[in-house]
Subunit: 339 residues, 2 copies
């Protein structure tokens, strides 16, 4: 019998096929393999093909926009939002609009075209996480913005248009609806119980263990009880923290270790699938609070979203999260590759 | 400058690229063409390949599950929900679940494997709309259900797994979140203004005309102000009506005419794209009301949904709805094909 499960944070119901759950080999997957770097605008030596860099790590001497970097952050050449201008909020009869003011940046994670977040060294991944933080802190100084979203599209079927390892950032003049819902709902829970709902979930998941994928000193990764997608994972700090950018500095090394570990597990269990991840953190101006718990949502791209999902806003997940967690826990990742 | 637009019903913000809007030819599309009917379980003569029919139109004599039908409704062979059993609502620590009880049916729209909803005669399409209604009314007698969702996935990239023209129906023990949001929001609007928000939008859209795709005596089709997707369309009754299944019988012929018209426009403007549509109607037990306005949402599958959309719950639409409406209005559809 399939199960209907409710996500305690968003109130969203998901249909979980518990009878004959789809195993990793049951999905038609496109293994993500990087193509020819010849015309790649993100490769060293091609710096002129991007807009001028906003942040760079690792360069010892050498001018701006020349090779020698380990991480580069540049404005997106085809931005969804424009950085100049005022919001000019305006009505149009019944409707509301404002100028599409915002930042849209690309974080080039490594000079190495064919590596991935799962294969770069842990130390290099930690630097990427620091670059996220540095850009968030900088953009928060702009009074027009209410939210900075970090996300990654890996592989063409996850929406990536370039192979070279990169993530993206969008700074927005509004708090996105999905984040607002999570924040509001966790506030209501806190208001009633004086506990963070995410902390409560983490405690329960660590007790039962069946949906835990991996954990280390500071972080835990689990497949959520009402996973929308097969092999969806949430990566959370074990101790309450409301914003990504306000962590103790030792946390980023720990996060890099955890993220690399679970991305390697995903690569091993699902043969290097396309995936998206996004960081959910508290909105600007309400960073420090007791109710919202920042986290990373990781979604391998294994299924298509069709009419049923669009029409109802809820999802059919063919793989119970308990089984997904087991496959990911048992995935063979080489000990040497973990460094 | 791109625009941020807010959907007045759901409160969802959408980024609309107004500068260089993508035109139909800018999208990489897969033209949907039906494959070989040899092993098609929905073709006449293959009735034994489906579960036993629940409803049939057009059969004069002949036994159940034999050829001679014009429309057949059968249980889905791989149902997302199971029809037998009780809900057995249950807690699991913090979490809530219930049995995945529900109906999952397939409406086989025509015996003709290679036709589509845009190419079958208007009269045949009207019968499909009646079949939707008949199944909804029947399922509403089952006290376990709170909602019946009709939807269609056309083409592989829209999630269809079979080529033969068909739609689907799911009866659910809960009101889906997206519908609940629309109903609640329109209720709040009504509570404040004593007017239906959809009726207000229709009035404003008919005044300006710039987002109107087509209209007839009873229906209007427009591209919504805050369209999530390029060439998204909403088809609504012009006069307030809260539920699909409670329309005057003359309405279904008019709806068939309108639906065929806009599907033909979409086929002409976008070269027979994959698409989804879904019918949004009032939940069971609250069918007759003044605040919610039933409608059909039609979404051609032209873009990929990526991390940004999943992370934020809002969308980047590269085609302003005003331009989409113009392309669809101006699409050349043969007058003879309209019958």
């Amino acid at each position: 019998m399939p199960e209907l499960r409710k996500d305690p944070i968003t109130g969203r119901w998901v249909i979980i096929s518990t009878d004959r759950g789809k195993r990793p080999m049951d999905f038609l997957r496109d293994e993500v393999v990087a193509g020819d770097p010849k015309n790649c605008p993100f490769c060293p030596g091609h710096e002129a093909k991007t807009a001028s860099e906003l942040l760079v790590y690792g360069r010892n001497g050498g001018g701006a926009n020349t090779p020698g970097w380990s991480i580069r952050v540049v404005p997106n050449k085809f931005p969804a939002l424009k950085i100049e201008g005022e919001l000019d909020r305006e009505g149009e009869g019944l409707f509301d609009k404002m100028n599409g003011v915002g930042a849209h940046e690309v974080i080039i994670e490594t000079p190495d075209h064919t590596s991935t977040m799962a294969t770069i060294p842990e130390r290099a991944l930690e630097d990427v996480l620091w670059a996220y933080r540095d850009r968030m802190l900088d953009l928060k100084n702009d009074k027009r913005f209410r939210y900075v979203l970090i996300f990654k599209n890996h592989g063409e079927s996850a929406g990536a248009t370039l192979d070279h390892p990169h993530s993206q950032l969008i700074a927005l003049p509004i708090v996105p609806r999905r984040v607002r819902e999570e924040v509001d709902s966790s506030w209501h829970y806190y208001d009633e119980k004086e506990r963070c709902i995410f902390c409560d979930i983490i405690r329960q998941e660590m007790d039962t263990g069946e949906r835990v994928v991996a954990e280390n000193d500071h972080f835990i990764t689990m497949t959520p009880y009402a996973s929308r997608f097969p092999f969806e994972m949430w990566l959370l700090p074990k101790v309450h923290g409301s914003s990504y950018e306000n962590n103790q500095s030792t946390m980023y090394a720990s996060l890099a270790r955890m993220l690399k570990d679970v991305l390697m597990r995903m690569d091993a269990a699902l043969d290097r699938p396309a995936y998206n991840f996004m960081i959910h953190t508290s909105p600007i101006g309400e960073e420090i609070n007791d109710h919202y718990h920042w986290h990373v949502e990781i979604i391998p791209k294994l299924t298509k979203v069709a009419g049923f999902e669009w029409g109802t806003g809820f999802y059919i997940n063919p793989t119970p999260p308990e089984e997904a967690a087991r496959f990911l826990r048992e995935a063979k990742i080489a000990a040497t590759a973990k460094k």
